[in-house]
Symmetry: C2
């Protein structure tokens, strides 16, 4: 497992309740190749570039960094943090600083 | 600004108090090309592959996802989270869940 992207992509797609075909087509891929191309990404056979991952991140409503996050714990927290508003993020920052004292 | 990697790399390097030359050589680059190559990365002229970013992340003691994190707030929190131990990460997770209620 060279990069975390294939497994992160698969779990984010599933969490969004989309098939490979549906996600591929949402990204503008041709119907007859969408599923195969997404499968290549999820099998690590082809590494999408950053811009493609950004479009996928937007489609699946996750931060693009999630796809490059090796640490499972951090990746889980990233998904939750991404859902918080400015005020809540400030509260998290204060909480983290309090932990470090 | 296509990807966040150039600016994240520069700030992580500076936070670690290393010059481009020092970081390049720590990665095994030749002394006479280390600085120029690192400068290309920081100027976005050349995009290092994920494995190179993983080695850089290890050298600078940051999570590799930091280099791919577009959101400044999230990237800042990622750096702090990366310094926490298992117990503290669990406390953070509980705190995040409490925020979402």
């Amino acid at each position: 497992m060279e990069t975390p992207t294939p497994s992160r992509l698969k779990s984010a797609r599933k969490a969004a309740g989309l098939t490979q075909q549906q996600l591929g087509m949402a990204l503008g891929m041709e119907p007859n190749t969408a599923s195969a191309r997404m499968n290549q990404y999820e099998k690590g056979k082809h590494a999408p570039d950053f811009l493609t991952m950004k479009r996928i991140a937007k489609e699946l409503d996750v931060p693009v960094a999630y796809f490059y996050c090796e640490e499972d714990k951090l990746s889980k927290l990233l998904l939750i943090l991404n859902k918080l508003d400015e005020k809540q993020l400030k509260q998290v920052e204060n909480f983290l600083f309090s932990l470090q004292k």
